[in-house]
């Protein structure tokens, strides 16, 4: 299973601003972040975290700009981006559902939960729904094993899930006003 890790739990930004049609960040923004990190030795991964934190993923065009501004060949950037699970090369959906596939969750049926969600959303693990509303992914341990099985949606953890009630999770996501409000706030900023 390829397991890109929840992009929304990046440090500086609580949730990515990524809209499905996310345009690459304004040029000056990328140059600004490149200049910020260029001074520090070996900070390519930090610069990429910064970039993905803003855009939700690492678009090719932005990676090229970043590389030029930091004097790093594009091949080096791709070498790193494809090595680490955390970085995404494609825009994710609006709600990123990250089902934890750590051991504790695995033993408590995270597989059934993931399969249920696949069926519910008509997508496979690692894909987004055609309307780009939901993105479903299995991720490495989120470290909340006491609440297994669990899923995180845009960084918010839903714990002690019933593996047979995946539809209930989606209902909860839709009803979870505070999370939606928080996202809109971020988008408005």
């Amino acid at each position: 299973m390829s397991t890109p890790i929840d992009v929304t739990t990046t440090v500086k930004v609580a949730a990515p601003k990524a809209a499905p049609k996310a345009a690459p960040a304004p040029k000056d923004e990328i140059i600004a972040l490149a200049q910020k990190w260029k001074k520090k030795r070996g900070s390519l991964i930090m610069a990429l975290h910064d970039l993905q934190g803003r855009l939700g993923y690492v678009p090719r065009e932005s990676a090229m700009k970043l590389g030029r501004a930091m004097d790093v060949p594009l091949a080096r950037i791709y070498e790193v981006v494809t090595f680490y699970n955390y970085f995404k090369l494609e825009a994710p959906g609006k709600y990123i559902i990250s089902v934890c596939t750590g051991t504790a969750c695995h033993i408590k049926g995270s597989n059934q939960l993931l399969k249920g969600l696949e069926k519910e959303l008509h997508v496979s693990e690692g894909q987004s729904t055609p309307d780009k509303e939901y993105h479903l992914q299995g991720v490495r341990c989120l470290g909340c094993c006491g609440l297994a099985p669990l899923a995180a949606v845009n960084g918010k953890v839903y714990g002690k899930l019933d593996t047979s009630e995946s539809h209930y999770l989606i209902e909860r996501i839709q009803e979870d006003k505070p999370m939606v409000a928080a996202r809109e706030e971020i988008a408005a900023e």
């Binding site: 520090k40 070996g42 790193v80 051991t103 490495r140 470290g143 006491g146 609440l147 953890v157």
Partner: protein, 551 residues
């Protein structure tokens, strides 16, 4: 800050806390946060204010108190009554907690047994889950607010550093060596020895790195320590730096742990402002500072040379040793990589002395160990126990067994690098040496319990699949060996496997153990080998009927 000011600030904080009649601390770690801890704290404050009790009762967040499956937890301490631990509290219950318990206690009442709405929300602090623990690393969890430097100081914080500043580098290394502390990341290398090796290398630049890349799926000890007591780790790193004459510090933390990163960043800002980190630390003229680097989701980065490559902004692939990082590490300079939990022990050892620490545990494994107890277990959560405690005590007495009618079948220690230990060997003491003898390892502290309904083949396959996915691909034994074992294992699961497959699994596993470049490949076959050792019949039952007959 001058050294004497530590006491003044600590005393001021103690006095501040004592001015309150009671204190409510709510777990504010990732798990409980997701169940509404922040709202609970806000509601408690608002309800207290509405009753004009906010000057009598202090409300604060704290680090993980352990019983994660029953969270959010609130602990109430008061001058007149034994501590009370509330479990499964929801934000809307704040008023009930205050009216039914807090207000009566303030009024002089003693709450013995809970009633009404709160009846099922009390936890008995005399349960073995709490009484059998021995907390050193987690001692501030449940009493201090990790976001406040003053609260850390109130419990002797940075006094270990103060002492270290009066000692020579050699003396600090000796103290650590005498304490018997061994690396808590898994391998168990004596910390004092590691420091001493780095100390002896001459260099103008030396690095100390905190390894917070907790990659073991099913473990959350380091997250809990970083979230619950970040200053203890910072202090441990400062002492490590003194012991090795290091010049630069790096925190390497998983990006998947945003709250841990936030807390460490905040703690570093506070420590800098107070003169505990940066230039002229504790008025000693010594300067040391840190930077934070984030992991990006690669299990192999727990291996120190891979971690160093990742800090350098490269793919996290390990390299052959020697040269060891102590000689040639980050950017070619001597580097010491220590695990979070190891570092959190350091200041306490320095303050209380090596004999105190060495007095706990077994002959070769000293002190305590934090474990994440998960899987099919009643008391799911974080525990810190003295080394030498038996597995049975951990699983049955502290963990409370499966909590269902099913029986415990085995536990997996050490995550993907460890092995399964069947129930009949549970009287083994928990120590580096005993676990190794059983074909498992201490690992970082994940303890996964499986019951008699769970398949060991399935669990072994899960771990192997994980290691195959996480293999960096640099060396052939790990890259190819893992994939081949996985294929054979899949045949066995499908019912098309043969005895030849089992023989080959063992053979390839041996090659991986001997020839892989780093610990990921060397230990990846451990789960499957231990499953074969203890539960071979489960494998043979699923082989092709003909082959079984022949065998």
């Amino acid at each position: 800050m001058k050294p004497e000011e530590l006491e003044i600030k600590a005393a001021a904080e103690v006095a501040k806390q004592q001015a309150f009649d009671a204190r409510l601390v709510c777990c504010s770690s990732t798990g409980c946060q997701s169940s509404g801890a922040s709202e609970i704290i806000a509601n408690l404050k608002a309800e207290l204010k509405a009753r004009q009790l906010d000057t009598k009762v202090q409300v604060s967040g704290t680090g993980c108190m352990g019983l994660c499956s029953k969270g959010p937890l609130i602990r109430m301490t008061s001058k007149t009554q034994k501590d009370i631990l509330f479990s499964d509290i929801k934000p809307e219950m704040a008023a009930v907690v205050i009216d039914r318990v807090v207000a009566p206690v303030l009024g002089g009442a003693t709450i013995e047994s809970p009633d009404g709405e709160l009846e099922t929300h009390f936890l008995d602090l005399d349960e073995p889950f709490f009484t059998m623990q021995d907390r050193i690393v987690l001692e501030n969890n449940g009493r201090s607010d990790p976001e406040k430097l003053e609260e850390y100081l109130a419990h002797g914080g940075y006094q270990g550093l103060r002492k270290a500043l009066t000692m020579s580098a050699e003396e600090i290394c000796k103290e650590l060596l005498d304490s018997g502390l061994r690396g808590r990341g898994g391998a168990g290398f004596p910390t004092g020895l590691k420091w001493d090796l780095t100390r002896k290398v001459q260099s103008d630049v030396k690095y100390v790195i905190c390894n917070g890349d907790e990659g073991d799926p099913g473990a959350f000890m380091d997250r809990s320590v970083l979230e619950g007591d970040p200053h203890a780790v910072i202090e441990g790193m400062l002492i490590a730096a003194r012991a090795m004459n290091s010049t630069n510090g790096v925190f390497y933390i998983r990006a998947e742990y945003p709250l841990a990163v936030e807390r460490v960043e905040k703690a570093l800002r506070q420590a800098r402002a107070a003169g505990l980190v940066g230039k002229n630390i504790l008025d000693s003229g010594w300067a040391f500072d840190f930077e934070i680097r984030l992991g990006a989701g690669a299990f192999v980065c727990g291996e120190e040379t891979a971690l160093i490559a990742s800090v350098e902004g490269k793919r996290g692939t390990p390299r052959p040793r020697p040269p060891f990082p102590a000689v040639k590490g980050l950017w070619g300079f001597p580097t010491c990589v220590n695990n979070v939990e190891t570092l959190a022990n350091v200041s306490r050892i320095l303050l209380r002395g090596a004999p105190w620490f060495a007095g706990k545990g077994t002959e070769k494994s000293k002190g305590t160990k934090v474990f994440a107890l998960t899987g099919k277990i009643k008391n799911n959560g974080l525990v810190e126990v003295p080394m030498g405690i038996t597995l049975r005590e951990i699983v049955e007495t502290i963990g409370g067994g499966t909590g269902t009618e099913r029986k415990v079948k085995a536990i997996q220690t050490g995550g993907p690098s460890g092995g399964m230990i069947p129930e009949h060997q549970f009287d083994t003491p928990m120590s580096y040496e005993h676990l190794q003898k059983l074909g498992s390892m201490m690992g970082s502290g994940g303890l996964i319990v499986i019951d008699d309904k769970d398949s060991v083949i399935e669990l072994a396959r899960f771990y192997l699949d994980f290691c195959v996915d996480e293999s960096c691909g640099k060396c052939a034994p790990c890259r190819i060996g893992g994939t081949q074992i996985l294929k054979m294992l899949d045949r066995i699961v499908d019912g098309t496997g043969t005895t030849e497959d089992i023989r080959k699994i063992r053979k390839v596993a041996k090659a991986m153990q001997k020839a892989s470049l780093c610990a990921l490949g060397q230990t990846a076959p451990n789960p499957i080998l231990s499953a074969l050792k203890h539960f071979e019949s489960e494998f043979t039952e699923r082989l092709q009927p003909v082959e079984t007959a022949k065998a």
